[in-house]
Amino acid sequence: MAMEVITPEGFRFDGRRVNEPRGIQCCVGGCGREADGYAVFELGSTKAVAYVYGPMEAKQRSQSLHDRATLSCTLSTATFATVARNFGRKGDRQSQERSMWLQQTFESAILLEQYPRSQIRLFVQVLQAEGSPVAAAINAATLALADAGIPMRDLVVACTAGLLGRKPAMDLSREEEQAGGAAVLVASLTGSKRVSLLEVESKVPEGFFAPLYDMALQGCHAIAEQMRRPRNPDIQRSLCFLPPRTCLLEHASEGFSLRKSRRKA
């Protein structure tokens, strides 16, 4: 049997209770004049960055539709994001499949018919995968789309839930994911309480699906609440969309130092 994942007092490894997501940090807009929308989303130490370009004329005629915009999504994972470094694996099956999830999720949320014959391009990269990378990627993408001013039916927010022992827990970290319990990923349109993505990649024991699903949905709502509401209630609520600008600089310098270290090796 694996090690104890929940203490008798009901705490997890990192000190959370089962119904608490990790700490959230959003950084939206402000930087990167080239892109129309830009956001960084952090879920604990999982980190994803998203860029949105468009709506713009499609690069190829075949990609445009006469009555609505097309959405193309790319979700990649940085080589340094995971514990095991894997170089030169761009466009592998896993990231292709995940890109597809992202595309299907957002096609239902974005009002694509407002921009006929154009294309919206969404690029998401997971910079650090410490559990629930796809959830972080979806959340980053939502923020970037909101920053670009692309009309959406709702904020799409994603969260995972998994079994720890026999208890459902919200927002799995990497250790908890690797413990091998069942896990689900849910992305929901939080305001209308609809679900736009549900991924179950492992076997869920009988009778556990409903509680897991509920737990993930609860997580979505908790995260959405924090995305909308700034930490200081005196500040305007939408101002959580306008964070300090230093973020990208930090991120860029991080990337820079990483690149340097790789060159040395």
């Binding site: 909101a146 920053d147 009309p151 039916r153 200081n232």
Partner: protein, 331 residues
């Protein structure tokens, strides 16, 4: 000043000032508490309830007309689709977005780049969702001749405009499909030369009386495209007596010329002033550009320093801007 008044009522402006205040605070003490009231949005009464994110329910009295940026949800509630400010005009309810792609309307002056030369028209990138088109018949022929376009003109199409040329134009028509048709039938419009481009979000350039302006105290010409592309260049020479005489500007003689270092410095300072204004969320008008330009000279800031918010801050430029904005809006 008109630009300053409108800047503070315009939410984008206020929010950006706020953001700035917040950023500085966060760095200093790690808390988001605001003790700098002059940079706060709170000074604008009635703004609190109006800001929305996508998916937020917009409160509406029954019978309200649904405008742009608002959709009806399955449960019958009206929700916003973009981040922006809720606006009521009588019964009409709409959300003005904080930032969006330019959508053309007839009569707008735009700055664009030719991306493709087709048989009898040019495809122009102006930052809209679709490319805009400029027909051969809608341009002004060199020498101000008025005649039908012939096959010869079609063959010589690249002599008028070639790929990657920057042009200023006016929106002539919005087609049903949303495609824009441009025209440059006036010799004020046409190829842009001897300057630099500054691209900003289109919300910062409003329609105003003049979009092609010679800034008098600066000595630089700016083309304020409604699509948010701003061209800053050396003022064109006027042929003949040196005075503008006809209304179609046919005396204007715009061609490639060598710009001297002094003018270059002024051009780059104006460009950076434009970007700096946008950084603080203020509107771009001839007045606002001139104000920032003169202040930056007074405060002894180099042109490149205008792009560095920390340097602008320490030199006191931000205080000057805020003072100007708040004072002229009567608070």
């Amino acid at each position: 000043m008109a630009w300053a008044t409108s800047a503070i009522t315009q939410l984008a402006g206020a929010v950006a000032l706020e953001r700035r205040g917040r950023g500085a605070q966060g760095e200093k003490e790690g808390s988001l508490a605001i003790d700098n009231p002059k940079l706060s949005v709170q000074s604008i009464p009635g703004l609190q309830a109006q800001l929305v994110c996508p998916g937020d329910v917009v409160s509406a009295e029954p019978g309200a007309l649904r405008g742009r940026g608002v959709v009806e949800r399955a449960d019958g509630k009206l929700v916003a689709t973009t981040c922006g400010v809720v606006e009521h005009v009588n019964k009409l309810l709409y959300v003005r977005p904080l930032k969006h792609r330019y959508a053309g309307s007839v009569g707008d002056v735009v700055v664009g780049r030719i991306v493709e030369v087709q048989t009898d028209r040019w495809a122009v990138e102006i930052g809209t969702a679709q490319l805009a088109y400029l027909h051969l018949g809608a341009i002004h022929l060199p020498g101000n001749v008025q005649r039908r376009r012939t096959d010869e003109d079609t063959l010589r199409i690249r002599e008028f405009f070639d790929e990657n040329d920057l042009i200023s134009a006016e929106v002539q028509k919005v087609q049903e499909s949303g495609e824009l048709a441009l025209q440059t039938r006036n010799s004020r419009y046409g190829k842009l030369q001897n300057g630099v481009l500054a691209c900003v979000p289109s919300v910062f350039v409003r329609r105003q009386a003049q979009h092609l302006v010679n800034l008098p105290r600066v000595g630089v010409m700016v083309v304020l495209g409604n699509n948010g592309w701003v061209w800053v260049c050396a003022p064109p020479k006027v042929a003949g007596s040196g005075r503008q005489e006809t209304i179609n500007f046919s005396q204007m003689d715009v061609r490639y010329q060598k710009v001297n270092p002094d003018m270059r410095e002024r051009i780059s300072r104006v460009r950076n002033s434009v970007l700096c204004l946008v950084g603080y969320g203020l509107e771009i008008t001839p007045d606002s550009i001139t104000f920032l330009y003169e202040q930056s000279l007074k405060l002894d800031l180099a042109a490149w320093e205008l792009l560095d918010s920390a340097r602008c801050d320490s030199a006191g430029l931000v205080e000057k801007l805020v003072a100007e904005v708040t004072q002229s809006s009567g608070r």
